[in-house]
């Protein structure tokens, strides 16, 4: 049940997308997210969806798997959609007492929902096709220049690696404790908000204790192997830019140009 969450999960594969340099992929994902906020009309979104579909197809990750990852955020999407739809003024299409839907509101609501969905799919595609360890290597490498300004690049990356590494472990632990308490008659599903919050205590207390125990063991194990931070540390698998990465960067630039120029291209055509 709780293990079905796919956000932040890696989907093993050998596709060209999987093999891209993690730095390139991170920059691609960030650019894509920024681009989503630049597009303002139908054709722009159409293009963004098209590009994402091609990348998904190329990555070999089943669509079903990606959609499943959307489930936990579904409520947020519905919420923003509803708020946008009813709150924005303009040409009224439908009215009932104080509620009204306007043409502008509807457009913004639809665009916002699409934007959110694309944003989540775009960023989860990054984690789906990149091993956590490569992802953090990439982040560390991208943050390297900032060490001049005393940004602890290695430490940040290490913290992320550890956090990512322990998400499945903690989910597993949650699942187990939940079942153990259910075996003792605990009920996590019914009752009002206060009762439900209270029923979480038998879950959260053991979970925190487990988390601290795991953290302590890990710290001890790292120290026993003489870990002392980033200085002079080399890597077993250094990341290297390859030919495919240049192609990806070129396509990325093309994408940005099209997104930015899209309104004027349309202007020329009409």
């Amino acid at each position: 049940m709780i293990r079905d969450i796919t956000l932040g999960q890696y989907f093993p594969g050998e596709s060209g997308i999987h093999r891209l340099d993690p730095r390139v992929k991170i920059v691609m994902a960030l650019t894509y997210i920024v681009a989503l906020f630049l597009v303002k009309d139908f054709w722009g979104f159409f293009f963004a969806v098209l590009v994402l579909s091609i990348i998904i197809k190329a990555s070999g990750v089943p669509l079903k798997f990606i959609i499943r990852g959307l489930k936990p955020i579904f409520i947020i999407i519905i919420f923003t959609f509803t708020v946008n739809m009813f709150m924005i003024g303009g040409e009224v299409l439908w009215q009932w007492k104080f509620l009204h839907i306007t043409r502008e509101g509807l457009f913004i609501a639809v665009f916002m929902a699409i934007r959110l969905i694309l944003l989540i799919i775009g960023s989860s595609l990054l984690t789906l096709t990149t091993k956590p360890i490569h992802l953090t290597d990439g982040i560390e490498s991208l943050l390297k220049p900032l060490t001049v300004f005393k940004v602890p690049a290695h430490e940040l990356a290490m913290m992320m690696t550890i956090a990512l590494r322990f998400i499945p472990t903690l989910l597993e632990e949650t699942d187990k404790i939940m079942k153990a308490q259910m075996a003792r008659g605990a009920d996590f599903e019914s009752g009002n908000v206060i009762r439900r919050a209270k029923s979480l205590i038998p879950l959260l207390v053991p979970l925190f204790i487990s988390a601290f125990r795991i953290a302590q063991d890990l710290a001890m194990a790292m120290e026993a192997r003489c870990y002392r931070g980033g200085k002079h540390r080399t890597r077993m698998n250094a990341i290297r830019i390859r030919k495919g990465d240049y192609v990806a960067v070129f396509l990325l630039i093309l994408f940005v140009v099209i997104i930015v120029a899209e309104p004027s291209i349309k202007g020329l055509l009409v």
Partner: protein, 283 residues
Amino acid sequence: MSIKVENLTHIYAEGLPHQQVAIEDISFEIEDGSFVGIIGHTGSGKSTLVQHLPGLLKPNSGSIIIDGEDITKKEGSLTEIRRKTGLVFQYPEYQLFEETVAKDVAFGPLNLGVSMEEAERRVGEALKQVGMDVKLVGDVSPFELSGGEKRRVAIAGVMAMEPEVLILDEPTAGLDPKGHHDILELVEKIHKAKGGITILVSHNMADIVNYADKVLVIEKGKLVMEGTPLEIFKREDELIKMDLDIPPAAELIRTLRERGLKIKGNPMSVKEAVSAIYEAIKP
């Protein structure tokens, strides 16, 4: 009280790339009053199997009939089923959460809706059954106890629900030899005292052989052997092929036989082995 499991199959993460068939087409029956041992390697599916009995997991197919009722078809609350079948998880001490031992043990019974007085009575009773005294440990924080004591408290937490079927999933895992022995003795004592069905899960044959009336051997999610300990040990060679440990005494007898000593019978405990060897070498 009877349990009947029919063609039980459970698949984790069905339809995903890491899909895992944990148990496949398992069927068996357990009669009232029996002490059942389930053995198999780590990862063979033992825990998955026993988590179905209190309805904590839903099977992909198959049924579990407890006292004539198929619990996999049951709609609504499973509390009554969970009262009847108490499951002590592996490393149960990690589920302790209350401020005091007494409060923690009372968690189960209070969830069942018993009165405060009744819960208190059960706490005293359950702690006594695991060899602890509520007057001494009742007000202590469970986190201050030793590993073995924590485990006893956790077992008491399930006992206090007064289940008719008590399932223990590797209750000796991670304990020192003395703690290991004590827990097994305790489980046997509890079984004799309360009657009903006891199911003991272990990856170690030696744990089960002295206590069980019936042994189920699980290998890679399938039920591969079923019978009395004696019947199972007659198929020693298969057990060894599966890489399952046989009891040290049986291992000794086996080695002596290989070296040419003629030993009669099928001794499994140390005591039986001693007399069998004595018979064989007696001048």
